[in-house]
């Protein structure tokens, strides 16, 4: 049973003792506190969000170093920074790291932190499962990267790891095994998290928060969770088949035995194209919050925004074969997928137009967050347009596997996804930490990153059209590739500088925070519920669960129209915001078991690769932890059911009876 926001607030302040006195198995039930151990057992969606975000930024640096190695290798003809073999591993791990270990968990950070706040809930539906998602994700991420040390190198088959390149014959190191098992572990994490967040969105909205009053960011994140829910099992199947082929001699991708290598491509891209929207929709959601706030206008065409997001979610399933136009899938398939690829540009275009219409006539305020948001729209549009050119199959045939493709998807994923999520960081930083990021350094970060980004990936369009292949470790002199490759390398160094500025900004603004006025609950004059509570957010989120009367409810709490239709302020933030001073709010208890379960999974992975006994130990650890988890009493709402008054004695007895759910 999970704790809902409707759970009565039955524990008195300071009365957490009875939770600590329940030794079960090897762990004493932890209490929520402030030390580092509390981060290991936390089930608070906000802390889990921060854990996701911080780990994602760490892997951003890892993937960034890999990117810089690629660019150094390609800076000049006949580069010798990396051997061809290591180059293969580096670009593969760069792609895998950036997609699965950076953007997805960073989006998960926003989803975890802000979905409950935006729908007026005290936590997600399953707080311990939420912790489990994070720990499984982290253990999978670490597992994947240990292949550098114990696996004889990283995977070397490209992030989409086409058969038959991924077979033992062409990739004899354990890198691909780590890829196949590591992505399965990461997939479990995302699946658990998607179930959790879908239930949260559907089932835990504050009174009055109908679906069509949900903030657009929550909407986009909800659609993302559905895409994850349905896309992940497909790649899981593909990864299982690959794993069985490599480890247990199955025949799924052995053409000599009559197998079809295209099976992998289909399964991968049926996952892989929705994955593109899994990456971009959270950024769309962020932009849809930032632009209205700094335009001081409601989002133009809310319904269109929501339904175009849903349309993207559906149509994203019907375009996968445009990744496979050169694989010989036949003229009818090519024509069908060309058309569907053109069509999917329509709902995306609707979004772009609505953002522009939101800004049109607004009182624009170009904070760093707003600059990132506007840049997201602009850069994504460039990437989207080059994407439409891929729907023209004859042209795509020419462009496949060239740097034109690399340019395209970096404009979409970096220009759309990463810039969008940076907009979100500058926007919500004061909400999360209680102090602003420095705007001056933020401006430097923004401009250096924007210039560096365009300098890196803009020239790749030209290189690609000139015929430079992707995934080659070097190129000969005299093809005309020299200048633009050097330009791209300089650009990539600028991006690195921008990231360093951002890190410096994080450090400096934390250091400066005590000398600056605190941001207060609502520094940007925001529109959604998270701005109605203090910054940083108190552990229990809301003192009282808000009653929602309209879209942008918080805005309408502050402003109303007078008789002439002018917007007038009716309440100050101080009057309207919650104080965060409620005590005795009943919150889910922390638990170590999610971490214990997560530790077992990579052991199974190592065991499958090296020694099945180890897999057995991992499996036993996981199963034992799952059972201990199931038997660990949730601070059960059923126990609270009978005790509307704060009767500790009685509550304790009811608890000891063990409503074990």
């Amino acid at each position: 049973m999970a704790i809902t926001e409707h759970t009565p607030l039955e524990i008195g302040p300071g009365d957490t003792a009875r939770y600590a006195q329940r030794p079960l198995g090897v762990f004493t039930r932890p209490q929520e506190g402030r030390g580092w151990r509390d981060w290991l057992s936390t089930v608070d969606h906000k802390r889990i969000g921060i854990l996701y975000g911080a780990s994602a930024m760490f892997f951003f640096l890892v993937g960034g170093v890999e990117a810089l190695l690629i660019r150094l290798q390609l800076a000049a003809p006949e580069g010798s920074v990396l051997s061809a073999d290591v180059y293969n591993q580096v670009y593969t791990m760069h792609g895998v790291t950036m997609v699965f270990l950076f953007i997805m968990p960073l989006a998960a950070a926003f989803a975890n932190y802000f979905i409950p706040l935006q729908i007026g809930a005290r936590d997600v539906a399953f707080p311990r499962l939420n912790a489990l998602s994070f720990w499984i994700w982290l253990s999978g991420a670490i597992f994947l990267n240990t292949s550098w040390i114990v696996g004889g190198g990283g995977a070397d088959c490209g992030w989409f790891c086409y058969s038959t390149n991924s077979g033992v014959a062409f990739s004899p190191s354990h890198g691909v095994d780590f890829y196949a098992i590591g992505l399965q572990i990461l997939g479990i994490a995302s699946l658990v998290s998607s179930v959790n967040l879908i239930v949260t969105c559907l089932n835990m909205r504050a009174p009055g928060m109908t679906l069509m009053r949900m903030p657009v960011m929550t909407w986009m994140l909800l659609i993302t969770q559905f895409l994850l829910l349905f896309a992940l099992p497909v790649i899981t199947v593909a990864l299982f088949l690959l794993m069985f082929d490599r480890l247990f001699d199955a025949q799924f991708f052995n053409p000599d035995a009559g197998a079809d290598p295209l099976l992998w491509q289909h399964l991968f891209w049926i996952f892989g194209h929705p994955e593109v929207y899994i990456i971009i929709l959270p950024a769309f959601g962020v932009v849809s919050e930032v632009i209205p706030t700094f335009s001081r206008k409601p989002l133009f065409g809310y319904e269109f925004m929501v339904f175009s997001g849903i349309a993207i979610g559906f149509m994203g399933w019907g375009v996968w074969a445009h990744h496979m136009f050169v694989s010989g899938i036949g003229p009818i398939s090519v024509a069908a997928f060309s058309l569907s690829t053109m069509f999917i540009a329509v709902p995306t275009g609707v979004k772009v137009l609505n953002w522009l219409a939101t800004m049109w006539g607004g009182k624009l305020k170009f904070t760093v967050a707003m600059k990132f948001a506007v840049a997201t729209v602009a850069m994504f549009t460039i990437g989207g347009l080059s994407g439409v050119t891929h729907s023209v199959a004859p042209a795509d045939t020419q462009q496949t596997d060239t740097y034109y493709i690399v340019a395209h998807f970096h404009y979409v994923i970096f220009g759309g996804g990463v810039l969008g999520l940076f907009a979100g960081m500058y926007f919500w930083w004061p909400k999360i930490w209680g102090h602003f990021l420095n705007e001056r350094l933020g401006n430097w970060h923004f401009w250096v990153m924007l210039v560096g980004f365009n300098l890196t990936f803009g020239p790749m369009h030209i290189l690609g059209l000139q015929g430079m292949s992707r995934r080659i470790d070097t190129y000969a002199r005299g093809y005309g590739f020299e200048f633009w490759n050097m330009a791209a390398t300089v650009g990539s160094l600028l991006i690195a500088v921008a990231v360093l500025i951002f890190i410096w900004n994080v450090v400096k603004s934390k250091r400066d925070a005590p000398h600056l006025p605190p941001p207060g609950p609502d520094p940007w004059d925001g529109r959604t519920l998270e701005w109605s509570i203090p910054s940083p957010v108190p552990t229990h989120n809301f003192d009282t669960v808000p009653q929602v009367h309209s879209r942008d409810d918080w805005w309408h709490t502050k402003y109303a129209e007078d008789d002439d239709g002018r917007v007038v302020r009716v309440a100050t933030v101080e009057e309207a915001a919650q104080t965060g001073e409620a005590t005795g709010v009943h919150l889910p208890s922390p638990s170590f078991w999610p971490l214990a379960v997560a530790v077992g999974l990579p052991l199974i992975g190592y065991g499958l690769i090296f020694n099945l006994w180890l897999a057995l130990i991992g499996a036993l650890l996981t199963i034992a932890s799952l059972y201990s988890w199931a038997l660990e009493p949730v601070d059960d709402p059923d126990a609270a059911h009978d005790h509307h008054e704060e009767d500790h004695q009685e509550a304790q007895e009811a608890d000891n009876d063990g409503d074990e759910q």
Binding site: T4, L9, V199
Partner: protein, 203 residues
């Protein structure tokens, strides 16, 4: 804002959710949606590969339809006993509930036993996991289903033990319902597998 006031606000409907379904039940439905795609991928793989024999024996050559029909029937009957278990628990008849839970688990166990027998006899007849793409796909698909049934049996036995300990009462009969959702889903998947894989001939 004092704690008492907040209790007064929401004390009367602490189990209310937006949809009216409990979180756990909704989560199970959502999860089963995901499972559809998992089995969809595996079934598609088998359909693509079912004639890829590498000049060796195909699974379709060694199918024993009468035998598998019987074990399919056993699995379907376990859905009936599952319903009876839920009905008994939700009426507060814990003794009967335990009986039907055990019966469901036993029927599932018989099905798994049949699958083990089937697999071993296939291997004896020359269709092993690594024989050809068709056999790899067959064993992976039915093996996955078997693992799902086995996990279901573990859940049923956990419920049984909980019931013996007196912890499965009318009040939390929803737990039985949620395990039942999973169990019925696994059965329905088998109906698909049996029809598409076993009953429709290879060419």
């Amino acid at each position: 804002m004092s704690a008492e006031a907040v209790v007064a606000d929401h004390g009367h409907d602490e189990h209310a959710t937006t949809t009216g379904l409990s979180h756990t039940k909704l989560a199970m439905w959502v999860f089963l949606g995901s499972e559809c795609l998992l089995f969809g991928g595996l079934i598609s793989t088998y359909l693509l590969y079912k004639t890829r024999g590498n000049n060796r024996t195909l699974p379709t050559d060694v199918f024993d339809i009468p035998f598998t029909s019987v074990s399919s029937f056993v699995l379907l009957m376990s859905s009936l006993t599952m319903v009876l278990a839920l009905s008994a628990v939700s009426r507060g008849e814990e003794e009967a509930g335990r009986t039907w839970l055990l019966a469901t688990a036993l029927l599932g166990g018989v099905f798994i036993g049949g699958q083990v027998y089937e697999f071993t006899s296939f291997v004896r007849e020359g269709v092993a996991f690594t024989t050809n793409p068709a056999s790899s796909a067959f064993f992976t698909l039915t093996g996955f289903h078997g693992v799902h049934v086995s996990l279901g049996i573990v859940m049923l036995m956990s419920l049984f033990v909980a019931s013996v300990k007196g912890k499965l009462t009318q009040r939390n009969s929803e737990t039985v319902e949620i395990v039942g959702l999973y169990w019925h889903f696994v059965d329905i998947v088998w109906i698909f597998i049996f029809t598409v894989i076993y009953l429709i001939p290879a060419d």
